[in-house]
Symmetry: C2
Subunit: 204 residues, 2 copies
Amino acid sequence: MMSTENLLVEYFSQYIALSEDEIQIIKNEDIIREYPKNEVLLKEGQLAKVCFLVLKGCVKRYYLEDGEEKIVEFYTENDPIAPVSYINKEPSKYYLSCVEPCLISTGTEEKTQELLQKFPRFVPIFMKIGDSLSVKKQSFLDDLKNLSPEMRYEKLIETRPDLVNRVPQYMIASYLGIQPESLSRIRKRIWANQKKENSSPSST
Amino acid sequence: MMSTENLLVEYFSQYIALSEDEIQIIKNEDIIREYPKNEVLLKEGQLAKVCFLVLKGCVKRYYLEDGEEKIVEFYTENDPIAPVSYINKEPSKYYLSCVEPCLISTGTEEKTQELLQKFPRFVPIFMKIGDSLSVKKQSFLDDLKNLSPEMRYEKLIETRPDLVNRVPQYMIASYLGIQPESLSRIRKRIWANQKKENSSPSST
DNA sequence: CTTTTTCATTGACCTCGGTTAAGAAAAGAT
DNA sequence: ATCTTTTCTTAACCGAGGTCAATGAAAAAG
């Protein structure tokens, strides 16, 4: 168990250079906690009182339909999670739970306000974090409906190759909106096509 | 051609009560323009210099793939359009064009800042508008991948029945991510099922 | 090391949507 | 009205993904 607060400092350093003062404040202000695998951070119907920042590990957001888990999003290292429930002060439609053992920093509205008052130069960074997140998802979701499950999987491999390795396949399937059996077939198909291409090299 | 500025006042009145002063300012500050059907508001590759508010009519956001129009979103009365290009100051990935003759109010960053400086109480409203918009789309897109084309269409009829009546079907198909022929079949199927249900009434 | 449980693969069968091609219907233009 | 263009429907064929059931492989539990 070494320097856990440094992860938080590193996170902010992505966006701006921090002074020593600021580093100390961040280390003191914020709460970092460990969560075991399968720990539930937020349940459907609950009111989210905090937002999260994943420093280490992997968190899934999902809802239940006839007892089936429908995974909507994965969050990994340095992904902030601002639940809609937290933003709108309404009961959550989603669950949040840990796919792996996690190291997570939680933030309350008050703490954030305090921090921003002390360091106004953080304001644009905070806004940027929120924006860039929603924008990133936007473009991914926008054309999801135009992609076949197979193309979705290939796109996922391109954009987030790490996920495929660290997350069980049935969860990947749920995230892609297909059945585990189908994902299995898709993988087989892709694998077969690659073999074919290699054995009959093109003349270009 | 009657009271066009009132549409803008009405829009803001949804969120807060306006004083006479404020009404006058809004009427003066902002630019409302008419656009004919098929007018292009923003092209792929362009930098969006303004954001829009649709007061009357219907605007589609889409991109081209092999010359095919892939419709991502429809905007109708009182829908604000803040292009990603406008927010991030980057070339647009999308086109915006009028599906119908439109009445649209355009806003520049400077004008907005001016307005907010004069009337700080508008700040939370502006933020709320942005939030509620992204949240609404979020939940719609989140489970899009879990819905069959048929279910998508039925959901669209529930949530935006107006669209189906005012927009050509092949555009609806594009929006749902399917072929026009498929939408035709789906409509037929749904229609047939309704007939069946009516002719064999349940005993409840 | 076994036993049990969880997870991944495979096969058979079926439905739905994509594709192509043709034609009907509706909307505009002259 | 007639002619043209746009939009919508229908049919036939095919392939991908859903579903159910069985088997294999891997992890967790004992």
